[in-house]
């Protein structure tokens, strides 16, 4: 076999491998994968799906419990799989950012749980979400007065950010993503007034 014949064979082999790889890549692109976003409940379509953050006020929190030391607010969001493949939400965590330097009298906790199968143990059970469907999720925020009056702390409340962090997997590698939500003092105070909670 001459050197040129050998080179020709190598070239043909490289072409075949490249063609198979390109075909596989195109197939994967056509097939797609899961892709999750967080949406406010009741929003069926978003022209530009928000990912990194939902605009302030996009999620309406309702006051569920109010006492001298504790306030519980809850809202519903949709963990929406807008990809072309079924996906699994392996874990989902609420992460609050309320620095003690700015809010020494308050502690904020976020709990996430599927609306249809609520849990109170902060455990997230891995769940399958078919393509183009969403998982309704309850976001529960608990504000506790660490010291002093909750009323005063709320009166001084500016705003607090918190993240919904989710670990997802589908046809390809698992990854974490997160979407930021914001709770403003005005939201809390207006909800407080709407529910007719009096100062204690």
């Amino acid at each position: 076999m001459s050197m040129y014949t050998g080179l020709q064979l190598v070239m043909i082999l490289l072409l075949v491998v490249t063609a198979v790889y390109v075909a596989y890549t195109l197939f994967c692109l056509w097939q797609g994968d899961m892709h999750f976003t967080v949406r406010p409940a009741g929003v069926s379509r978003l022209r530009r799906a928000p990912r990194a953050a939902l605009p302030s006020g996009a999620v309406r929190f309702a006051l569920e419990e109010a006492s001298a030391h504790r306030l519980v607010l809850a809202a519903e969001v949709i963990l929406y799989n807008d990809g072309k493949q079924q996906g699994t939400i392996m874990d989902c965590i609420g992460r609050a950012y309320l620095p003690a330097e700015q809010y020494p009298n308050l502690r904020l906790r976020v709990r996430l749980t599927p609306t249809d199968a609520p849990r109170t143990d902060d455990y997230w059970e891995a769940v399958l979400v078919p393509a183009r469907t969403g998982l309704s999720t309850r976001v529960e925020i608990t504000l506790d007065a660490v010291r002093g009056s909750l009323t005063e702390a709320i009166a001084e409340f500016g705003k607090a950010d918190f993240d919904i962090i989710y670990q997802v997997v589908g046809r390809s590698d698992w990854y974490y993503d997160k979407t930021r939500l914001t709770l403003t003092g005005d939201d809390i105070r207006s909800e407080w007034l709407r529910k007719g909670v009096t100062r204690r």
Partner: protein
């Protein structure tokens, strides 16, 4: 009085890889087991007590897994790249790829299930969400040496027989391991309504009471062993 079959689910605490399945069955169900009974244990629980599970985070998918999982229907555990890789950890990447290609060709000629028949973990693996918390975040393999586990249970408990079964609420029931002489197809049929439950029942053990007595009555006093 003519004996009848009764299915008795046995509740346990969560069983983990620190437990021994035979000891657990004896602890929670030993007092309920008689010489005519068959002890049935859920396959995922046997696998978990054997440490036969992993987490997606511990796996590094190979190119074979990335390639093959794209050609499996979305509903199965093998559609996930980690489900596929977990099966490959047991069976080998090249073996899985070889039988995948052979299975594909066989399917073109109307013969189905060739790949699953030669790569058993491909059908045994339960991907994430397939098992109860806290193992819902794990990939659970099929149990190891299921027949030997069953023989040990019979020896320890003095029962008529034992099986390791894979049953779900979709009326799918299969016996993956059995003690000597047990008719797997018959026991699978008895378990078809999933007496284990797969949700929060916490009953991974089911005792088929008086199986041998019923079989003897049906066979005119002869043993039902196959």
């Amino acid at each position: 009085m003519k004996p009848t079959l009764t299915l008795v689910p046995v509740k346990t605490r969560i069983l983990t890889d620190d437990d021994n399945i035979v000891e657990a069955v004896e602890l929670y169900g030993g007092h309920l087991v008689g010489p005519d009974d068959i002890v049935c244990v859920a396959e995922s629980v046997v696998a978990i007590t054997q440490g036969e599970f992993t987490r997606p985070e511990l796996l590094r998918p190979s190119w074979q897994a990335r390639l093959m999982n794209r050609f499996v229907p979305a509903e199965g555990s093998m559609a996930s790249v980690y489900g596929m890789q977990s099966a490959m950890e047991k069976e080998g990447e090249w073996k899985m790829l070889f039988w995948f290609i052979v299975g594909f060709v066989a399917k073109l000629f109307g013969r189905r299930g060739v790949w699953y028949a030669h790569c058993r973990q491909a059908s045994f693996v339960d991907d994430v969400t397939g098992t109860m918390p806290p193992f819902d975040k794990c990939i659970v393999y099929g149990p190891r040496d299921a027949d030997r586990v069953c023989d040990e249970m019979v020896k320890r408990l003095g029962c008529y027989g034992a099986v390791v079964a894979d049953v779900n609420d979709l009326k799918r029931s299969a016996v993956l391991g059995k003690s000597h002489g047990i008719d797997a197809a018959e026991v699978a049929q008895i378990l078809i309504d999933n007496p284990f439950g797969n949700a929060g029942e916490m009953t991974p053990i089911v005792i088929i009471k008086d199986y041998a007595a019923v079989a003897r009555a049906a066979h005119g006093g002869h043993s039902a062993r196959t």
